[in-house]
Symmetry: C2
Subunit: 271 residues, 2 copies
């Protein structure tokens, strides 16, 4: 079986201990910048190679400067190795126009082993209420040329109740919901979940705010190994104030389990 687009494009090659070469793919662009979730997944792959535990449990990502397609270096280190959990740090660098390294993203992460968790679940969380897949809207329904390049990597179908923005009639509610698969059929895993939490159109669109909504910081929790099959993703924003908004994501797997949660602080660049 050939490597999935996601695995190919998030691959990292060890150069020396703790230093990895990556070749970031323009296929994950949103406008002129690469998607933050794609970049996070690439860094988490390097961290997973460095750390004594296999899976990201909680990953905090601060975005410093916009990342472009092309060569990049990830430096990753284990900060503390524990029995159940280990904590590490990673940074993504690219070469600036003057030939010097520029740091793009810095990450702190705590890793563990999701396969060792008990099956005990006492949850008040419920999967999002949304229409079945076949009643949701794919990029083939979007106005021609309006979908980002990254949409070609995804099989994503938006809940019609959350796409008013696409026809100039945002709902005013800070909500976005979608069915979510990788276009090449690769099943979800903890790494792809880190991309999934940041892959939908921003809730700001449904609040009537267009333009660029760059992420300042995103923290994702991976809560369980996802079952194969389609995911459901629900985004919500409670508070847009002073030009900043938080955006929460929940990702549910085909077995109705909450497999990832994230919160990001983003900037509404144009009001």
């Amino acid at each position: 079986m050939s490597l999935s687009e996601f695995d190919r494009d998030t691959a990292v090659t060890p150069r020396e201990p703790g230093v990895y070469d990556a070749d970031l793919s323009g296929g994950w662009a949103i406008g002129s910048a690469l998607n933050g979730g794609y970049l996070l997944a690439t860094m988490a792959r390097a961290l997973g190679d460095t750390m004594p535990h296999p899976h990201p449990f909680t990953v905090s990502t601060h975005y410093l400067t916009a990342t472009a397609a092309g060569p990049a270096t990830v430096r990753a280190e284990t900060v503390r190795a524990g029995r159940t959990l280990s904590t590490g740090a990673a940074s993504l660098f690219q070469t600036g126009p003057d030939g010097r390294e520029v740091e793009r993203i810095r990450v702190l992460a705590t890793y563990g082993d999701l396969a060792t968790l008990s099956e005990d679940v006492r949850t008040a969380a419920k999967p999002p209420e949304m229409p079945p897949y076949e009643h949701c809207l794919g990029s083939e329904h979007a106005p021609s040329g309006s979908s980002p390049v990254m949409a070609d990597r995804l099989d994503m179908r938006l809940d019609p109740a959350t796409v008013g923005w696409a026809v100039g009639a945002p709902s005013g509610k800070g909500e976005m919901r979608a069915w979510f698969c990788l276009a090449d059929g690769r099943d979800p895993d903890p790494l792809s979940l880190l991309m999934t939490v940041d892959a939908l159109p921003p809730t700001a669109f449904e609040l009537g705010i267009g333009g660029w909504v760059p992420t300042v910081e995103l923290t994702a929790h991976v809560r369980a190994l996802p079952a194969p099959g389609p995911l459901r993703v629900a985004l919500s924003t409670r508070n847009l104030a002073g030009g900043f908004l938080e955006e929460d994501a929940e990702v549910w797997d085909s077995a109705d389990r909450l497999v990832a949660q994230s919160r990001q602080l983003a900037r509404a660049v144009r009001g």
Copy 2:
């Protein structure tokens, strides 16, 4: 006016550029460990001294090992200085029994200037519904000896609907709500908000889970300069699974503004 307990106990003294001495106070203990929010505020004070912007906008904290009262060293650095936002990193160290430095906590933070934000607010968030201050329960209502030492620093009154755990009858809902002031009357500011988000009893208690609920990671967003006067804090947990739970905090000021949000991933050590 004398220094508040909070300002005195979170003070840091510059030793050399980027290195600060702290003397952590046992007055902020919960059981045998110091409160994570108190420690975060102390580290954020050192970061604020290092960074070109004054206020924490988003702070991601990974807790490595339990911190004890006594001397500690904070190392803080600016990673990137921008026009609107700057990003920094900090670590808290203590000397271990073998005389070597042990890292306790690592932080990534993005700072800005809350005073420059526009007054534009488009929010769906509403303050928590809870009884007035005089109908909520202070530590003088708690069973004798059951309150942590830190309770003496706070004037905190819990919503009676969320204190079933204290009399052996947890509600089963992952909710906790309180009125919140510092006991010495000091008004809230961005630094004290970082302590406030982690100061209530854990929601796990209302889920029927006693014992230690150590924080793995906590990310806090400070969204506005708080108005003087009492705060309202609402915690909620949606998903307890596999021995881990997320806990979300919202902090509202006396002017009904959402001034801080946080999410932490915690471990339910005993089921």
